[in-house]
Symmetry: C2
Subunit: 388 residues, 2 copies
């Protein structure tokens, strides 16, 4: 039985701060009168809250607006304007993949102000890979003139099944990754929260934020590749599954059919070398060049991908399927996928290619870091007990 | 931008009423002192709220408790006790299936006080089937002495893809069902809300409420049968999908493999007659009796079911899979299913047989009706704006 208690003044202050800050963030610059109108709070309350936010460094007074040309300056002192200080803190979005690491840096508004990436051998050990991440982060911060102490949250997207504490339960794509306490290892480099997420999940969040899925709250993102995966949003929220393994279609791929992507994409009797993206790129290029064996290999792969995605769609019934992962070579999957889905679904989902391409995973990681900070800045606990 | 407004007295009254009613419901019988302690509200507030609930018919004064044997009666007037009047309203849970209709009746506490069921030919038209439902409901109400006007909500579980307005988008199992405005048709018979839900979804809700899944908020319920389906709860909430078609594994079943359950379960070159449950029962019985062809047919069917369930599990990553639908003949699916899931899942879900058997769909429909009423009685709008 939850308890209902009387008005808690500190809770009320936090509610009012969150409401004013959210109004300021949307407005660009606003006067006390604007804020009073937007929030429904009294003017003295708004004044007190704004003073508090200024002392926390989250709000600053903005330069007074110049009168528009032809407008006569109004009499008396111009009203003070205030703005949200997006530069009061910074966020990182990090992708750690089999072949590269990539970093995005932003202020508290999520607008990207710095980027970097570097190639990593897919045979690199976990220590080597983490060292590359640290070096890259230091570079990006230095180039952007942002001190490490300004970081408020770091999001990380990586292949594999990721536990709630940021450790990697299982990952076949990166050497030494299974069992790695990735969140804990990275937290040593940062004095802020580090959020680790499966790469396909992060990409789903990114496409929903500013990619191919901005209008859809129910979507499946398919990360095509040699270690394929999928991420899904249900009602706008990431669906991780009970053990963080939802959408692990790497296994679905094999279900009752023992062929790996490397075998499907081979043009000889031998499968491609494991995780060899260059060999894959050559097969796709040969297929585009008209090579019959390469075309047959690509068709085999696409057909399998279509079946896997159809199974996901039947299980989840999303509004939209976004296909990403391999920047090139996937255009050919859209039509067969649409045809297959329309055979089995009463109302087939829309199907689209990723709009963010190779930045999807890092962008999603950045969005997760932003969400973490927003929760602290802009929301408050609900005062009512949850119903069972 | 949501607005935060000052204390709204009518909202506060509703909050307090909901809190007191919820405390009373859990307590059996309680004094004003008990309620003051349980809710954290002041005694005058509790007194006022209880008076209001009595005048609404939702609360009654309970008979004073007799002193226990050997306990001396305390001096003075005994404290008044109050109880939740579960009999203040009634709920129905209705299953409309291919071969039968079934009805459960309960008070506002969800405890079943009346039941009924009748066979319906699977060839019956929609009008005939609805007439059977109406006759059965009238019987159950009459036998229980409950006037129709006492009904507060009716839940209905039925095969097919059900739209939010209670119409059936698609159903291959019941003649005339596709396109039927089922909710609208039933609302003519009742003066209360009618909630229509897919049968597998309803069964998932039921097993979570009081069946094999009471401890699991992330579960998949598989309704095995000639028109198979699945329902899933994610975080304790039903996942319907964007178009209400989540878990329609009837199609998954066929994906890339054009064999129907009737073909798989046949012991001859011809498939079984469509939807012929008696023929299926005979095959299962023959298999148990040692018939080699029947055993092979059952094995074919189970193997397919195992693959379909594995695909659902990889997509959703539930904590628990409950298999139901056919009361007999499914024991043999558990071990192969566990073996297959442990091959592909790092942390395979638990697998269990339905605990509710053939009452699962009607029980889930009743729970949905109860949930609808609870929302009105026991919860209040949250006073804060939702974050985007």
């Amino acid at each position: 039985m939850g308890r209902l208690t009387g008005g808690d003044p500190s809770l009320l202050r936090r509610i009012n701060s969150a409401v004013v800050l959210d109004a300021l963030r949307g407005a660009g610059a606003a006067t006390l009168t604007d804020l009073t109108r937007a929030t429904g709070l009294s003017r003295p309350t708004v004044e007190g809250v704004v003073e508090g936010l200024i002392s926390e460094g989250l709000v600053a007074e903005a330069a007074p607006e110049e009168p528009e040309r032809g407008e006569t300056r109004r009499q008396g002192r111009p009203a003070r304007h205030f703005r949200f200080r997006a530069e009061a803190g910074h966020l990182l979005g990090v992708e750690i993949g089999p072949h590269r690491v990539a970093v995005l840096l932003s202020g508290l508004d999520g607008r990207v102000t710095g980027t970097g990436s570097r190639e990593v051998a897919h045979t690199a050990s976990a220590d080597e890979r983490l060292e590359q991440v640290r070096t890259l982060v230091a570079q990006v911060l230095r180039r952007s003139g942002v001190p490490r102490s300004s970081l408020r949250a770091v999001g990380v997207g990586t292949p594999g099944i990721v536990a709630a504490d940021g450790s990697v339960r299982l990952c076949t794509a990166l050497p030494g990754w299974t069992g790695l306490p990735l969140g804990e290892r990275l937290r040593r480099s940062f004095r802020c929260p580090v959020l680790v997420e499966n790469d396909a999940n992060a990409a789903a969040v990114a496409e929903h934020w500013e990619g191919a899925a901005t209008g859809s709250d129910d979507l499946v993102f398919v990360l095509a590749g040699l270690s394929p995966g999928a991420g899904s949003l249900i009602g706008g929220r990431l669906h991780r599954g009970h053990g963080g393994a939802a959408g692990e279609i790497g296994a679905l791929h094999l279900l009752g059919r023992e062929a790996t992507p490397e075998a499907l994409l081979s043009t000889t009797d031998e499968p491609l070398p494991p995780l060899d993206e260059q060999a894959v790129a050559k097969v796709f290029a040969d297929a585009r060049g008209g090579d019959a064996r390469a075309s047959a290999a690509v068709d085999r792969f696409l057909q399998r991908l279509v079946h896997d995605v159809a199974a996901l769609v039947l299980a989840l019934d999303p509004e939209l399927v976004v296909v990403g992962g391999w920047a090139a070579g996937l255009e050919g999957v859209l039509d067969p996928l649409r045809a297959e889905l329309s055979r089995y679904c009463l109302r087939p989902p829309r199907v689209a290619l990723s709009a963010l391409g190779e930045t999807a995973v890092a962008t999603g990681a950045l969005r997760l870091a932003l969400g973490h900070v927003e929760e602290r800045l802009f929301t408050v606990e609900r005062p009512l007990p949850e119903r069972r």
